[in-house]
């Protein structure tokens, strides 16, 4: 019931059904344009009849050596289109691109420690809690750094969990 295509600037005018939601952050324009300029393949929109914006994903490729990976910056689905596995589909495409286009070792993402629904979804998709990032979110909430290994990481070294929590300043990437 969905068509997935690359996100365009014009979609910023029609994504309110998705963004009028507490858990979806609306960023400033340079944020979106930076992603569209640098990683257009990782910015995808799901649209349905109407056409209505159903959800989208923004991601990027970053890191060096065995740290080269795909990163999920934002994945969100409009409230009325939830529980239809749309986020699974968007995540699947991003993983596919990480593997086939960028040949990354893993995909990672950050999620609020309190967001059980999202954490469970990511676990269902094969992600593990790699480490905890203390005070990552404003308001001092901790984040889980979750990861899923890609086929290139044959020894699955990228998904050996770290026991020690880290501080945001210790993160390798912004």
């Amino acid at each position: 019931m969905t068509s997935i295509r690359r996100f365009t600037c014009s979609d910023l005018f029609t994504f309110n059904a998705v963004n009028l939601d507490y858990f979806t952050e609306t960023y400033n324009l340079p944020f979106y344009l930076q992603y569209l300029a640098k990683w257009p393949e990782y910015c995808l929109l799901a649209s349905g009849p109407g056409p209505e914006s159903m959800g989208y994903i923004f991601g990027k490729a970053e890191g060096e050596g065995e740290g080269w990976h795909g990163h999920v910056t934002a994945v969100t689905v409009a409230p009325q289109f939830r529980r239809q596995r749309l986020a699974d589909k968007l995540m699947g495409i991003l993983e596919d691109l990480t593997e086939k286009m960028h040949n990354g070792y893993f995909v990672d993402l950050f999620v609020r420690k309190s967001n059980n629904a999202a954490i469970n979804m990511y676990k269902r998709l094969g992600y593990i809690v790699y480490r905890t990032v203390l005070g990552y979110y404003s308001g001092d909430e901790d984040a889980y750094d979750m990861r899923k290994a890609m086929p290139r990481d044959t020894r699955k070294r990228s998904v050996i969990p770290l026991k020690r929590p880290i501080r945001p300043e210790e993160l390798e990437h912004d």
Binding site: A17, G50, Q80
Partner: protein, 1003 residues
């Protein structure tokens, strides 16, 4: 050794950078002085100090340093980047461009300087110049570097600009041919395979030249491998086949694609496009330059509407897919079921088009004739998928396309289908949720169909109670949801509120009764927000309701909870929040919102160059073109033009309210001056966020809420809420709204620019003031008459019309005075008479206006309920009067003081009206005083009113909010009352100020 490479130099600069980071201007200046003492004239230090100046508000000093360093034509990379940063902060990017032009002229082989110059041209959309720089870079760096693609992009952007009317030495066709040749040559030189961006850019260039077949061959050949998403590649191939006129091949292609991707909605639509309306597909064969149409299209050759075989075949294909085992998944079945609905809509619009030749799918245009097929398909989809939370949204555009004759029947059939569905399962949460969603879907569709029709308000209250009851019963189902998540049934409360408002608007003539319905509705949605703190449907409904109830602070708080910011200002703020603020005279809040709105555009103008260069440097060629187009879209935004205009008028009003002298003496920099409106505006407004009872208004922003109060819908055939459909912009109602909005804004813009021009030329001498007024009014083209009632009062009645007439009389007055001053004494008597007549016209309209406001404030005065809360309409009208009169008085008072000299007692006696300026002024004062007194009276009586109101309401329809124990309706009513009191106090203050000016003039 260059001192700038030493550690000592870095040590001197460090405190300066630290001070900038910390925002410590004093320490920064000290560090700058120390560094300059050690390194006199150092450009980096001077520029850093200039950034300190700029950030501490000393813009002139900053610009002085910027210009001085620029004249030295620096070439050092660090100096240039600091200078660029400063120029960006000062919004003077041309300075860095001029420096780089001189620097590259002096050092034409510096790749770094040339790249900088390319970026400077790109920031200013100087496409031809950037192409020349890219060519130099390419010659210096060789074919391995990406500069050839920079040239190609520059050529495409020149072609786009030429298509849009920009002067160009080469035609778009020549520019595109050049780009085409360069791409081919570049790829022949290289062994590298095509990237996605290269393929899409090349396809775009080929399509722009009408070479669709060649584009198709490219995608089917070496270029296609870059498109890794199979459905995306297939869709592109299909579009190119259609564009190339290969319709049979396209039909077969799409048929094959939907077999593999039966849940891809775009592919299903394309399949129907090519199967049912091949004639329309021919339109897409015209050359399109990255979204811009270049030439007139071929005439569409519509399929014969009597030819039903194509519909039969398409239906057969969909039915076959529905039965295929591989398509058993629910999402795929839902997709195919909706495709059957789409097919029926097209079948009905095809019949329509046989007479109108304009059948377009899913646009919300209502078919006139009965469409049993569409009804049946909708019903079937509802039965099968009504339990999904997206069902109503999926069906929205189809429901809005239902012919009037079929609506009631469809509704009844859906109700029947629902009768077997319980509202709650005691033991099974999942089943309960499905049942709840199905009920919600039905009620949502029912309201979109303009139903139910209420015969009495009591009926509407019973209806609202039943929806609220359903909501209350469903609460255990949301017990596990976090407070910030949207509840499964939040929309039920919005629908309950909607029923009350619709009934109140249609059945109750008294403003007080309608106010009561709005308060009931607000309490319902507020009760829902006790547990669901940021549910958008509830917050948006509460925002509109608060605005209509003249409670701007509550409305702002509701919108604030939704965190509407950045680009959402462009699509939401202008039509959701702004009318409530400017319409209730909340100047400070309105100014703050307008600043936030305008910052979206100014920040983009400042930052767009950076992200554009990111696209060039990342090889995202299609994004280069897209970013330029996006910048154009934002610059032509209707919301931007609206915000600029309202900010200017707000400034003028604020100054005018302090008296004509203050208006005249206001410094230019204190007031924003709007420029010309864009030739064609872009409407990005997301109207779908508006409730079905709040149609978008095209009236001037301060009068939009008044228009809602004054207009009533006509039954028995209700208007469907066309604006809630995602594709509303393509409906005829949407076009009409945009057209009237444009005229309305043009009129406001002309008024703003005329008043601004007038203000800047005012003198202290009142006769000079009057002369200047007249000259300016006369110098403007009458075609853009800001007072033409027909432009923005077409849909409004009574009060808004009177407001406009006051402005018209103001114009007449100053024109008469001006011509009198210009023509001298010969025609003095004639002019005096005309002047007196205009003065009387203004006075009589003003008196009528005051009477109207008093009437609205006194209308229907139930015993014990003479409170502000029930006079929202009157309060909004009084706020508009208070806001506008400041402008009229500022404009007209100096003329009135001249009037004694002009209209002699002898002439007055000949005048049929026979009143002197002084007595008119007294009359106006008395009327204004009456309004002020009435508002004051209501304000005084506002204490305890909420308790009285609630007592009555509680007995009446307690079920509407008593289900939520934590909810304290009195608390909401108190906030509402406080908010209204502030509005009332502002009105009184503004009226008193005007009264002071009037009396002062009389002396």
């Amino acid at each position: 050794m260059d001192y700038r490479l030493t550690d000592a130099y870095e040590r001197r600069l460090r405190p300066l950078y630290d001070a900038l980071d910390a925002g410590n201007w004093k320490a920064g200046n000290k560090a700058a002085s120390n560094a300059l003492a050690k390194y006199p004239g150092d450009q980096t230090v001077r520029l850093l100090q200039a950034i300190l100046f700029q950030r501490s508000g000393k813009k002139a000093e900053a610009l002085q340093v910027c210009t001085a360093v620029a004249e030295e034509v620096p070439t050092d990379e660090r100096v240039l980047s600091t200078l660029a940063h400063l120029c960006r902060r000062l919004r003077k990017m041309y300075i860095i461009r001029e420096v780089l032009e001189k620097a590259t002229a002096a050092d034409p082989r510096s790749v770094e300087l040339l790249r900088g110059l390319f970026g400077a041209y790109a920031r200013e959309n100087k496409f031809a110049q950037q192409q020349q720089v890219a060519s130099k870079l390419q010659r210096l760096s060789g074919p391995e570097e990406p500069y050839i693609w920079w040239i190609v992009c520059s050529l495409i952007l020149q072609a786009r600009a030429a298509v849009q009317g920009a002067a160009s030495p080469m035609s778009p066709a020549q520019l595109l041919k050049l780009a085409d040749g360069m791409i081919v040559k570049q790829k022949q030189r290289s062994d590298a395979s095509w990237t996605y961006e290269e393929t899409m850019l090349y396809v775009g260039v080929l399509q722009a030249q009408g070479k669709h077949q060649q584009a198709l061959e490219h995608v089917q050949g070496c270029g296609g491998s870059a498109l890794v998403i199979a459905a995306e590649r297939g869709a592109l191939e299909g579009r190119l086949m259609v564009a190339a006129g290969r319709l049979e091949a396209a039909a077969a292609h799409y048929k094959s694609l939907i077999t593999k991707h039966a849940d891809d909605w775009e592919l299903l639509l394309s399949f129907l496009d090519v199967s049912l309306r091949p004639g329309q597909c021919i339109n897409s064969s015209e050359p399109v330059l990255f979204g811009l149409k270049q030439a007139a299209s071929q005439t569409a050759d519509l399929k014969d509407p009597e030819d039903t075989s194509s519909f039969h075949q398409a239906a057969g294909q969909i039915s076959k897919l529905q039965k295929a085992p591989e398509n058993a998944a629910a999402t795929t079945q839902r997709s195919l079921s909706l495709a059957a609905v789409e097919l029926e809509l097209r079948r009905s619009s095809c019949h329509e088009s046989s007479s109108s030749a304009s059948g377009t799918s899913t646009t919300g245009n209502i078919a006139a004739a009965s469409c049993p097929g569409l009804s049946a398909a909708l019903l079937q989809h509802f039965k099968q998928f009504g339990h999904l939370s997206s069902c109503a949204t999926d069906l929205k555009c189809y429901v809005l396309g239902m012919p009037t004759s079929d609506r009631a029947k469809l509704c009844e059939e859906m109700r029947l289908a629902l009768s077997a569905v319980p509202t709650f399962h005691e033991q099974d949460t999942a089943k309960s949720l499905n049942c709840l969603r199905k009920h919600l879907c039905f009620h949502q569709i029912q309201q979109w169909l303009g139903l139910p029709l209420f015969k009495s308000v009591q009926q509407a209250e019973e209806y609202a109670s039943s929806l609220v009851h359903l909501y209350a019963v469903s609460q255990p189902l949301v017990a596990d949801l976090e407070a910030k998540e949207r509840g499964h049934a939040d929309e039920l409360l919005v629908l309950a509120a909607s029923g009350l408002i619709t009934a109140g608007k249609e059945l109750e003539s008294s403003g007080a009764s309608l106010s009561k319905r709005l308060i009931q509705a607000l309490l319902i949605v507020e009760a829902g927000q006790q547990k669901r703190h940021v549910s958008a449907p509830l917050r948006l409904a509460a925002c509109f309701l608060s605005s209509l109830l003249a409670a701007p602070a509550l409305a702002t708080a509701q919108a604030g909870a939704l965190d509407i910011k950045h680009i959402m200002h462009d699509t939401i703020s202008g039509h959701v929040l702004l009318p409530g603020l400017v319409g209730s005279g909340s100047e400070d809040e309105a100014a703050s919102l307008l600043d936030d709105m305008l910052r979206v555009y100014s920040d983009h103008e400042r930052d767009a160059g950076d992200t554009l260069m990111m696209a060039y440097e990342s090889g995202s060629w299609t994004k280069v073109v897209e970013f330029v187009a996006f910048g154009e879209q934002l610059s032509r935004s209707h919301t931007k033009a609206l915000a600029q205009t309202e900010l200017c008028l707000l400034d003028l009003t604020l100054h005018a309210s302090k008296g004509p002298d203050k208006l005249a003496s206001a410094k230019s920099e204190e007031m924003a001056v709007p420029g010309e409106l864009p030739a064609s505006m872009e409407f990005h407004e997301d109207l779908s966020v508006r409730p079905s009872w709040m149609p978008p208004s095209a009236a001037p922003a301060p009068m939009r809420l008044l228009e809602w109060w004054e207009n009533s819908t006509s039954r028995p055939e209700p208007d469907l809420p066309w604006w809630i459909a995602a594709k509303s912009s393509s409906s005829s109602a949407g076009s009409s709204w945009r057209e009237v909005s444009s005229s309305s804004l043009q009129a406001r813009r002309t008024l703003a620019s005329q008043l601004t021009a007038l203000r800047t030329q005012l003198g202290n001498n009142s006769s000079q003031f009057a002369t200047k007024q007249g000259e300016l009014w006369r110098s403007e083209s009458m075609e853009a008459d800001p007072f033409a009632a027909s432009t923005y009062t077409a849909a409004s009645q009574k009060f808004t019309l009177l407001l406009t007439q006051c402005l018209q009389h103001t114009q007449e007055l100053v024109s008469e005075q001006s011509s009198s001053s210009v023509d001298g004494q010969a025609d003095g008597i004639e002019h005096s008479r005309a002047f007196a007549q205009s003065l009387h016209g203004l006075a009589s309209t003003f008196l009528g206006l005051c009477e109207q406001v008093c009437h609205l404030l006194s209308n229907s005065k139930p015993e014990g309920q003479d409170t502000l809360l029930l006079h929202s309409h009157g309060l909004l009208a009084a706020a508009a009067l208070a806001r506008q009169q400041a402008v009229w008085l500022a404009l007209v008072l100096p003329l009135w003081s001249l009037e004694h000299d002009m209209v002699t007692p002898a002439q007055q006696s000949q005048d049929s009206m026979g009143q002197s300026g002084a007595s008119i002024r007294q009359l106006c004062s008395a009327s204004l005083q009456k309004v002020t007194n009435r508002v004051q009276e209501l304000l005084n009586g506002s204490s305890n009113m909420q308790t009285t109101l609630l007592q009555e309401e509680s007995e009446h329809i307690a079920a509407l909010w008593t289900w939520e124990r934590a909810f304290k309706p009195n608390k909401i009513l108190s906030s509402l009352a406080r908010d209204q009191e502030t509005v009332a106090e502002n009105i009184i203050a503004s009226c008193k100020s005007s009264l002071g000016h009037l009396r002062c003039g009389a002396d």
